[in-house]
Amino acid sequence: MGHEYVPEIAIDRDGNEHEVQGWQGDFYGGKLGFWLFMLTEVMMFGAMFLALAYYNTLHPQDFLDASASLNRLLGGTNTVILLISALTMGLGLLRMRAGDVKGAKLMIWATMILAVAFLVIKGFEWTAEYHHGIFLMHDKLLPESTLPFGQKLFFGLYFSMTGLHGFHIIIGIGLMIWLLKRINAGKVSTEHHILHWNIALYWDIVHLIWVFVFPYYYMIGAGGATGGH
């Protein structure tokens, strides 16, 4: 850290001593900071859900129809994958706190592999949709196509939100690689694991957002359709 921190003492009028909280090694502060940052993620996705809800009330039937055409099998598989990855991430943190650095690393690797699997499946989904003419700047989503407005909006938002969520997954993988490096360098350890803690929190939020994205996009149309393309 360069500058070592020696806790300072302030003395009140009665001569009692009070420890001064420094910014160095403030575990609680680091945690609080990251929680606040995650709050901004929630606000950001919240605004998009607001837009989604607004258009949903304008075009309820179009939304159901569009949703029915999504691939619930792949989406559902992805949901399960993400839930398991949240579990492995959490277990990794528990391992780390228990002093089992090796086990922690193993769990982080597992999470990373699951995250990649998620992206691969997502890739398949998007490719299939592309072949159906449904993609940004592609046949059915062009202004001149005859697809109903509601469906165009649905897919526009679908690609924006799943795309942004996928982007978060990629960032998450990057963070985990970084975390592993820090662990190997001894910078993250049983005593100093704030980074691990925060990345686990990040991953929790990422999976939590998906838990809302999935029913909103994939499930609302489930009743009316035969599923899949």
Partner: protein, 551 residues
């Protein structure tokens, strides 16, 4: 002589030999604040000269120096710089950084490296904004609000302006986050929330807005970028999208952003008034809590920007009602300031004169704001110069003036020198007179129907624009003169003591002026209120060796 933060610094990476690199890599909150100020005021003057070009064009009816398209780009550039590069980050980035940690007895902000990163993120945002001037069809011509659908169709460089605003917004979020954690974690022992100086309260309320509102506009801008690139259709009527949704999402942020500008400015006022009245502030708690409630209510009133965009009558009425509601905590603050001055030993130093001047200009800005809160009035005055005059009175005559007040107030703290009082006062009068001459006629012109964002007008409005032009000349001369006085003060001014104003808050109880690298050499225990005066003298005194009270 102990070393000050000008002699020494902590760096983000290693410890380079060259002074220049030491500044570039510094993680010292005081140096970072100074760098923000330097960059911001450069941009401020760029925007001022853009504004001057507009005033020159408007001096007479008809086109003189620029055509309509250039004029559109000029007011967009002016607005984008003033709002996103200057006044939104403004007071928090400068004084929040420099004095807030000193006020709460902290050695630095909670995440000094993040602070350093945030500064460079801000610089990156500025560079992107500037680059949009030269790339493609030039800077955006949409106005700083980027309203869809026009912004979706114009050929100018809207995408870059949007990206710049997004990056700057991100920097703003990180600043707010850093300050929130700092205020929660690093207060000196004994300093409860209700023993914090009022400026810290202002920063605290602001930080919540930065944190909670900015992501909403962030994602709005991202959606607009995606829409322009990939045609996702959310704001595009050709695909069933709703342009008014853009306005809603935009103002959900941008109205709270108005409070994000004004709350820290009110914080500066709340420091200056008790110090120069030599009296404990009246209604400390109501001032503190009104900041918090303004921040809260401020979220719910965005709709008053959409009266003319199509909204149900019920929604309009509700928004109008809620907007009136914000006036209450604001009024409480004004009342408290005046009550603080009442029977105080008022010292008319330059910071105090700026504060008093601002009470007048901001009151005009606020009262004219109430008139356009009324739906009927607003339908008439929307997009006229009345509105332009209103927000310049509120932002320039409120926020920017208080920023100047703060610059005079904390000048001796930051530099260890004193500026020339007489000259600084002359600068104030030039600014104050010039400002009123510049904007007051515009209320009248607007009331008679002079529309905003027009580069040409009917001859009957000529007289107002000409008075306004003269005002602009005086005002801009005043600005330049004021900065010259600062410059002279910094280079040639007399050295000051650590507490030249007889102020009571912690940032004035430092061992040296300017402050040492590690701020308070020892952190005091805070068992006193922030503004304790007795017979016009500060009550609390310290032994600067041990930082224990000796009164």
């Amino acid at each position: 002589m102990s070393k000050t933060y000008f002699d020494e610094t902590h760096c983000a990476i290693g410890h380079p030999k060259s002074t220049f690199m030491q500044w570039m890599l510094t993680i010292d909150h005081k140096r970072i604040g100074i760098m923000y100020a330097a960059v911001m005021f450069v941009f401020f003057f760029v925007a001022v000269f853009t504004a001057f070009a507009m005033r020159l064009e408007l001096f007479a009816p008809g086109g003189q120096y620029m055509d309509g398209d250039t004029f559109n780009q000029a007011f967009t550039l002016h607005g984008v710089i003033m709002i996103f590069l200057f006044i939104i980050p403004g007071i928090p980035a400068v004084f929040g950084n420099i004095v807030m940690p000193l006020m709460i007895g902290a050695k630095d902000v909670s995440f000094p490296r993040l602070n350093w990163f945030t500064f460079w993120l801000y610089i990156a945002g500025c560079c992107i904004a500037l680059a949009s001037l030269f790339i493609g069809e030039g800077v955006a011509d949409t106005g700083w609000t980027f309203y869809a659908p026009y912004s979706m169709n114009t050929g100018t460089n809207v995408i870059m302006a949007l990206v710049a605003a997004f990056v700057l917004g991100f920097a703003s979020i990180l600043t707010g986050l850093n300050f929130l954690v700092t205020i929660h974690r690093l207060r000196a022992p004994g300093m409860t929330f209700f023993k914090m100086p009022l400026f810290v309260w202002g920063i605290y309320a602001t930080a919540w807005i930065q944190l909670l509102a900015t992501p909403v506009v962030g994602i709005t801008l991202v959606l607009a970028i995606l829409e322009k690139y990939f045609g996702i259709g959310i704001f595009d009527p050709a695909k069933g999208g709703d342009p008014v949704l853009f306005q809603h999402l935009f103002w959900i942020y941008s109205h709270p952003a108005v409070y994000l500008m004004i709350l820290p400015a009110f914080g500066i006022m709340s420091e200056i008034i008790p110090t120069f009245s030599r009296k404990e502030v009246f209604g400390y708690r109501t001032i503190a809590l009104s900041s918090a409630s303004i921040a809260g209510i401020g979220y719910l009133v965005w709709g008053h920007h959409l009266y003319t965009s199509g909204m149900s009558d019920i929604a309009k009425t509700v928004f109008s009602f809620l907007t009136f509601f914000v006036a209450i905590p604001t009024g409480v603050k004004f009342y408290d300031w005046v009550a603080t001055m009442y029977q105080g030993k008022i010292v008319l130093s330059t910071p105090m004169i700026w504060a008093l001047g601002t009470i007048i200009t901001f009151a005009i800005g606020g009262i004219t704001g109430i008139t356009i809160t009324m739906i009927g009035m607003d339908v008439h005055l929307q997009d006229t110069y009345y509105t332009v005059a209103h927000f310049h009175y509120a932002i320039l005559g409120g926020v920017v003036f208080l920023m100047f007040a703060g610059m005079h107030y904390w000048f001796p703290l930051i530099t260890g020198k004193m500026y020339n009082e007489t000259k600084a006062k002359i600068a104030f009068y030039l600014n104050f007179i010039g400002f009123n001459l510049l904007w007051f006629p515009m209320f009248i012109a607007g009331y008679y129907g002079m529309p905003r964002r027009y580069f040409d007008y009917l001859p009957e409005f000529e007289i107002y624009h000409q008075i306004s032009f003269i005002g602009a000349v005086i005002f801009i001369s005043g600005l330049i003169y004021m900065f010259w006085v600062f410059f002279k003060g910094w280079t040639k001014g007399e050295a000051t003591t650590p507490n030249p104003w007889n102020a009571t808050t912690l940032e004035w109880h430092l061992p040296t002026s300017p402050p040492p690298l590690d701020n308070h050499s020892k952190v005091p225990y805070v068992d006193f209120d922030p503004y304790e005066y007795k017979h016009g003298e500060p009550v609390v005194k310290f032994n600067y060796e041990t930082m224990q009270r000796i009164d």
